[in-house]
C-alpha cells in the first residue's frame, strides 16, 4: 500500500492535508488493537516471556523451593556435564528421535499417497486412519503396554502362533523398549497424514500429466514432481515431529516410568523427576534450557540444510 501511495501524487497530497484526522483514527485503531491482544500480551509476560527469563536465571542457582535460591554460577551446567544419568537420558531420547522422525515421515507420506488415490471407500479409510490419534494418551499407553505384554500380550501370542518363536520382551527389554515406543507412535500418525494429504490434493494435475505424456513412470513422476512440490510440507512435518519427539513423556511415564534399567528414561522424565520429585529447581531449569537450545539448534539446522532441498513454487520470501 505505501508503494501505491507514493506513485499516486494526488493521493499523497490528500494524505498530507488530512494527517491530523487520519492520525486520530489510526490511534483509535491502534488502541483497539492493543485492547484486543491484551489477553495474549498479559499471558505472554506472565506465563511465557517472564518464566523463560526466570528459568534462565534459576538455572544458575540452587533452589529447593523452601529456602531462598542461592547463586551457584555455572555449577548446574558443570554438574550436568558430569551426570551419567543426563547422558543416558540424552542417549535414549536421541535414539527415539532418530527412529521416530524418519519413520513417521516415511510411513505417513506413504499412507497419505495411498489415501489420495481414487479408490472406493476412501472417506471411510481416512476416518479410521485418523481415529487412533484422537485418543492417544494415558488410555492408549495402557492399551499398548497390554498388547505388548511379553507373557500375556496378544502380539507375542500372534507371533508364537505364526512363527513358533517367542516374541521380544518389548517394554521390559532394554534393547526393545525404545523401538517399542516408536512402534506405538507409528499407529497414531493422523495429523502428519492429514497435512500430507492436504498438500497432495492441492497439487496441480497438469505437471504430472505432462510428464506421463513424456513417458515418465509413476516412480519417476513421484520423485521428480510430487516430492519437490510438497517439499515445504515435508520440512514442516519433519520439524513438528522433531520437536514433539524430544518431548515424549506421557507414554513413558505411564508404561515404563523410565525402565528397565533407565532404558527409556527420556529427557523429560529426568527433568520431571529433578523438578517435582527431588525439588531441585535450579538443576531442572538448566536441563530445560539445554533442551530448548537443542530443539532450537536442530530446528534452525533443518531449516538451513533444507534451503537447497526445499522447492518453493511461489517465491514469496522478502
Amino acid at each position: 500500500m505505501p508503494a501505491n501511495q507514493a506513485t499516486n501524487p494526488l493521493k499523497t497530497i490528500k494524505n498530507t492535508r488530512m494527517t491530523g484526522k487520519i492520525g486520530a483514527e489510526q490511534r483509535r485503531e491502534e488502541r483497539a488493537f492493543w485492547l484486543f491482544i491484551s489477553p495474549w500480551a498479559i499471558g505472554f509476560i506472565c506465563f511465557v516471556g517472564g518464566p523463560m527469563v526466570a528459568s534462565l536465571v534459576l538455572s544458575f542457582t540452587s533452589y529447593n523451593v523452601i529456602d531462598p535460591p542461592q547463586w551457584v554460577g555455572l555449577d548446574n551446567y558443570l554438574g550436568l556435564a558430569k551426570d551419567n544419568l543426563f547422558y543416558q537420558s540424552l542417549k535414549v531420547t536421541g535414539l527415539y528421535v532418530l527412529l521416530a522422525v524418519p519413520f513417521t515421515i516415511l510411513v505417513s507420506l506413504l499412507l497419505a499417497i495411498l489415501l489420495n488415490l481414487k479408490v472406493r471407500g476412501q472417506p471411510f479409510f481416512r476416518t479410521f486412519f485418523y481415529a487412533p490419534t484422537v485418543v492417544s494418551g494415558v488410555s492408549i499407553a495402557f492399551l499398548w503396554s497390554w498388547l505388548l505384554n511379553p507373557d500375556f500380550g496378544v502380539v507375542n501370542s500372534v507371533i508364537y502362533d505364526l512363527f513358533g518363536v517367542r516374541g521380544p520382551g518389548w517394554f521390559t527389554s532394554t534393547s526393545w523398549v525404545v523401538p517399542s515406543f516408536v512402534l506405538m507412535r507409528l499407529t497414531a500418525l493422523g495429523s502428519t497424514i492429514i497435512i500430507f494429504l492436504a498438500s497432495l490434493q492441492s497439487l496441480p494435475d497438469e505437471l504430472s500429466e505432462a510428464a506421463s505424456i513424456d513417458g515418465a513412470g509413476r516412480l519417476v513422476r513421484f520423485f521428480k514432481i510430487t516430492v519437490p512440490l510438497i517439499s515445504p510440507v515435508i520440512l514442516f512435518n519433519t520439524i513438528v515431529t522433531l520437536i514433539n519427539s524430544f518431548q515424549i513423556f506421557t507414554e513413558a511415564y505411564v508404561i515404563t516410568k523410565g525402565g528397565p534399567e533407565w532404558g527409556s528414561y527420556f529427557y523429560i522424565l529426568y527433568l520431571f523427576d529433578t523438578a517435582f520429585a527431588q525439588f531441585r529447581m535450579g538443576y531442572a531449569s538448566a536441563q530445560a534450557w539445554i533442551l530448548f537450545v537443542i530443539i532450537f539448534v536442530l530446528t534452525m539446522l533443518s531449516l538451513w540444510v533444507s534451503r537447497k532441498m526445499v522447492h518453493y513454487e511461489y517465491d514469496n520470501r522478502p
Partner: protein
Amino acid sequence: MNRGFSSIWTRKTYRVGDLSPLEKGIVYLILTGCLFIFAFPLVWMISTSLKTLGEIHQFPQTWIPSPPQWVNFKQVFQDAPFGNYLSNTVGYTLVTVFSTVFASSMVAFAFARLRARGKTALFAIVLSTMMIPYEVVMIPQYLIFSKLEWLDTYLPLIIPSFAGSAFLIFLLRQFYLGISRELDEAVKIDGGGYFILYFRMILPLSVPAMVTAAILEFMYRWKDLMGPLIYLSTQTKYPLSLGLANFTAAYGQTPWNLLMAASLMAVIPPLILFFLLQKYFIRGIVISGSKG
C-alpha cells in the same frame, strides 16, 4: 492456451489418478492391512474389558469373552472415584476450551484486521512461542502458582488458558484474513467501532472456525497429563488422565480387565466427538500445516 491443445491435457487416458485393476487390488490390500493394524488395538481393548482376570491369562486367547463381564465397568467406579474423575475432566475441559478459544479469537481478530505499529514483529513472537517447550516455562509457572497458594486447585491450569493459545491464534487469524473487508467498511459507515465489528460481524461469521478450534483444544485438554500431574495432589480432584495413570497403584497385580474398561470409558467421549465433527477437526489440522 489453444483450446484444441488443452484438451490433450484433460484426456481420460492421461489421468494420473486412474489405476489398473491389479494396482487397485494392491492398494486395497495395503489399506485394509493398515486399517487392521489401527483398528485391532481398540477391538482388543473392548474384548479385554469384558473378560475375567482368569480368562485374560488363558491360552489360547479368546476374542469374544464368554460370558461378557459387564460388571467390570461397575467395579471400576467402586475401586476408584471414577465419577469424580469424569465430572472433573468435563468441567475443566469445558471451561478451558471456552476461555482459550474466546481469547484466541479476540487476539486473532486484532492480528488479522487491525493496523498497528509493530504488528508483524508481535505476530512473529506469537508464532515463535509455539517452538518453546512447555518444560522451559513449567518450573517458574509452578513457583508462581505455589506462591499464590493455588497448588492442588484447577486455577493453575485454567488461568493461563485466558491468554489464548499461539496455535489457535494462528489458526483463527488465517480464517479471519479470508473474511471480506467490505464488512469492516460497512460497520464503520454505520458509525460502529471495532468492538461492534468483532462481536456483531466477525464472531457470528466465524462459528465454524471457532468449532474447529474448540475441538482441537478439547482433544488436547482431555488427554493432557503433565499439567494435572504437576498441580493436583488430592485424588478426588484428579481428571481422567491422571486418575487413570494412578489407577493401578492400589492393586498388587495389574488388573488388565479393569484397566481396559477404565481406559475405554476415557476414550469414548473424544472418539464420538471426532466421528460427529471430523470435518471441522481435519480442517483445523490442515490449516495448521498450510504455513509450511
